[in-house]
């Protein structure tokens, strides 16, 4: 007997059909994953039957024997309150900021008309989701918890009223690799203990592989393939699924062919960065503590670590784009000046590419102006005609068509926006790129294309790269060496293969474990 049965579900927004003919069933204790790139209609298919999206659902959606399609908001509300729990991608925005954890749980537990639970019950709820020191956590606000803890609270709230179905919309995407598995293990445990049916939305195939029973692959609002997770992901039939599976970088794949390394280029020594502590607390928070590293011409060095380890801060300090308290950076033996004293010639050496492609482009500028910004400032003598020619060449170089030049960032997809950001970084012909999680905000397929583009540029131009990432598999595809950071220190540095095959430091071992699963 299935808890949740979807048959020929179609979703339309304002009469435009977005999702067509989705069918799947979830039995008690089972986990079904909806997989596909962003915009393929995964979230809409989950939310619309419950009246939680602007769309209109047609077809048949049965939750524990009740038909959801065609019900109005008033009829849906008690069903939502009693039968289903939701977990979202961003636990900070999904939890009400002004309510303490205890109050959030109370609201969740009482939504189906249950009597007011005692404090003991709350502690039991938090214990169940594996949150340590539950009695303290009850009196804390969401912003005082870490990302993983927030997601645990979110799951505790979503399951407080003992729903039959848990809908988890990208529950781990905002988390670190190692936290990802903890949260998914927790969901697995709740499935086993309470017979919870789970509908998982994800674009992360590694998560799906380890935790879902069955997979539904969606593309452009259509169901292209579905079946048992292990079989489908091992032998995908549909072309799109095959591309998705192939795009996931693997730790154990064949060694990538990387260009040869030249003479030493950049040396950063004893870098220390501190920030004032928030609020009234005295003292300063040490984000990077005496880090030393070198990069040679044409070499790619990965800076790997969990979030909060200081890798981005170190990267920016080296590129002189962020604060730096102590430490020196030399470029071919010559000292780089501090941030405010960087001249044009210095700025031309290192150019950055950031994580969020949309936020890294000024929403009010045209693509052509965005790409031209570095040459406008760094090569002010260039004529207008030559500048336009350079921009056109840069667009071609990142495989964008020339008619993109007049668009604004809003009209670009994530992958296109990141290509524009790469074009801007390359147009002044730097010798080194700083890639700050440059692919982690992108879909699997798009990320694979961007990595391929970066590999090509690395080969053709002999670019040195400092790649900041939390993904070891990605680091291995692009980088000669890997430096692992933890709590502001570089704890391990070595050849990519060596670090991955025989990690010495516990943090490295944890990262390798997390990427291997």
């Amino acid at each position: 007997m299935s808890v949740y049965a979807v048959e020929n579900l179609c979703v339309a927004i304002d009469g435009v059909s977005i999702v067509e003919n989705i069918s799947f069933t979830i039995a008690a204790g089972e986990c079904v994953a909806l997989v596909g790139e962003s915009g393929s209609g995964k979230s809409l298919s989950c939310m619309t039957p419950f009246g939680l999206s602007p769309g209109v659902a047609t077809g048949s959606v049965m939750l524990g024997g009740t038909e959801l399609c065609g019900l109005d908001e008033r009829a849906l509300r008690p069903l939502r309150a009693a039968g289903v729990g939701f977990v979202f991608q961003q636990p900070l925005t999904a939890l009400t900021p002004h309510l303490k954890v205890g109050a959030q749980l109370m609201e969740a537990a009482m939504q189906a008309g249950a009597p007011k639970p005692a404090r003991r019950d709350f502690i039991a709820m938090l214990d169940r989701v594996g949150l340590p020191r539950a009695h303290e956590k009850l009196d804390q606000y969401p912003h005082q918890l870490s990302g993983g803890q927030r997601q645990r609270v979110m799951i505790a709230a979503a399951t407080a009223h003992n729903p039959q179905l848990l809908i988890a919309d990208e529950p781990t995407t905002a988390l670190d690799a190692s936290l990802r598995h903890e949260v998914m293990d927790l969901i697995d445990r709740l499935r086993a203990e309470q017979g919870l049916a789970v509908l998982l939305v994800s674009h992360d195939l590694a998560t799906v592989r380890g935790h879902a029973n069955r997979v539904v692959v969606m593309q452009h609002g259509l169901m292209v393939e579905s079946g048992p997770a292990d079989i489908l992901l091992a032998q995908p039939q549909h072309k799109y699924t095959q591309a998705l599976v192939a795009a996931v970088p693997l730790l154990d794949g064949p060694a990538p062919h990387l260009p040869a390394v030249g003479a030493p280029l950049l040396a950063a020594s004893d870098m220390t960065v501190t920030f004032p502590r928030a609020g009234w607390r005295r003292g300063r928070f040490v984000a990077v503590d005496g880090a030393t590293l070198t990069v040679a011409a044409g070499e790619a060095l990965a800076l790997v670590g969990e979030s909060g380890s200081g890798k981005s801060t170190l990267g920016r300090a080296i590129a002189r784009l962020g604060p730096c308290d102590v430490g020196s950076v030399t470029w071919m033996g010559e000292m780089l000046p501090e941030r405010a004293r960087m001249t044009r010639d210095h700025r031309r050496l290192i150019q950055p590419v950031f994580q969020d492609p949309v936020a890294s482009l000024d929403p009010r500028w045209r693509v052509a102006d965005i790409i031209a910004e570095p040459i406008k400032h760094l090569m002010p003598d260039m004529s207008k005609g030559e500048r336009d020619a350079r921009v056109a060449a840069a667009l071609m170089d990142v495989e964008l068509s020339l008619d993109m030049a007049d668009r604004r960032p809003k009209a670009l997809s994530g992958g296109q926006a990141q290509r524009v950001a790469i074009a801007r970084a390359l147009i002044a012909q730097p010798q080194m790129l700083l890639l700050d999680e440059a692919t982690s905000a992108l879909d699997v397929l798009v990320a694979a294309q961007i990595v391929a583009l970066l590999q090509r540029l690395q080969r053709e131009r002999g670019l040195a790269i400092l790649a900041i990432t939390h993904d070891l598999a990605l680091a291995r595809q692009l980088c000669h060496r890997i430096a692992v950071m933890d709590a502001g220190h570089i704890v391990e540095i070595g050849k990519a293969e060596d670090v991955i095959t025989s990690p010495a430091h516990p943090v490295t071992q944890r990262l390798v474990m997390a990427s291997r699963r």
């Binding site: 920016r316 590129a319 784009l321 962020g322 044009r344 700025r347 031309r348 290192i350 150019q351 950055p352 950031f354 994580q355 969020d356 936020a359 890294s360 482009l361 000024d362 929403p363 009010r364 910004e373 570095p374 406008k376 400032h377 760094l378 950001a421 801007r424 970084a425 002044a428």
Partner: protein, 259 residues
């Protein structure tokens, strides 16, 4: 269509063009119709000295709105400049600049304006200066917050990497992205200034006779309420309509940009 703004546009058009079309100017006395009831030549009647009320209402609207617009623009310029510099430079400068704002906020503004009027005599310039000196404070706070938020966005850091000097970043990236929010608060500032100006005029501290403003008209209308309620209702109605419409439009804009 933006209905509140359309309504404001109609009122502005009437205030600008209306007096040209009327037979009686706002400051000419019709000796034949002192305290006259509404008639064909005076649609709203005349006031206690025989001046056409419709003409006076339109001119009063014009005066009130132009004082408000000018004061709001002054507030915009000072507020954006002050807030942008404080937010961009940060640190000690920011502290000092924002404490100045806090200090000015703490002044009992109405009292200061009344004191100025008493000392220097009534003048439209003083009204204007007094209002402008206070209304930019909120704008400065809002703009500073926006700038601090924008400063951390990757595209600003990318601009720094692109070698853009601070002035170019401020003018090229920060100000255009603050413009939307600033416009929204500009729209919210205008009704506030209208309120303040009307209140000062109602107290008899606003513009000089024979020039008039909505506040003066409401006061005179209230005095002659027993003779003709139109003298109170029409300027009062225009005042309320302008306030509500501008506030609605401003809040709508503000919500769009803060989302």
């Amino acid at each position: 269509m933006n209905r509140p703004l359309t309504l404001v546009a109609v009122i502005v058009a009437a205030a600008v063009l209306g007096p040209l079309l009327l037979p009686w100017p706002y400051d000419v006395i019709d000796w034949g119709a002192v305290r006259g009831a509404p008639s064909l030549s005076h649609p709203l009647g005349t006031d206690s000295v025989g001046r056409d009320l419709l003409a006076r209402t339109l001119v009063g609207t014009r005066v009130t709105l132009s004082v408000a617009t000018a004061a709001a623009l002054v507030a915009l310029v000072i507020g954006v400049a002050w807030g942008a510099v404080a937010g961009w430079v940060g640190g000690k400068t920011d502290e000092v600049m924002m404490r100045v704002v806090d200090g000015l906020y703490a002044l009992p503004f109405m009292f200061v304006v009344i004191l100025l009027m008493v000392v220097f005599g009534r003048s439209i310039l003083l009204v204007f200066l007094g209002i402008g000196a206070v209304e930019w404070l909120t704008m400065a706070r809002v703009v500073r917050g926006q700038v601090i938020q924008l400063k951390q966005r990757p595209f600003i850091i990318a601009a720094e990497a692109a070698g853009a000097p601070p002035r170019a970043i401020l003018i090229g990236h920060i100000l255009p992205n603050v413009a939307g929010v600033a416009t929204a608060y500009l729209l919210l500032t205008v009704p506030q200034v209208v309120m303040v100006e009307s209140f000062l005029s109602f107290l008899g501290l606003g513009v000089q006779e024979p020039l008039t403003s909505l506040g003066i008209l409401v006061k005179e209308g209230a005095d002659d309420m027993d003779l003709s309620p139109l003298g109170l209702l029409v300027p009062g109605g225009i005042l309320v309509t302008v306030l509500v419409c501008l506030t609605l439009a401003g809040e709508k804009l503000r919500d769009r940009f803060s989302a």
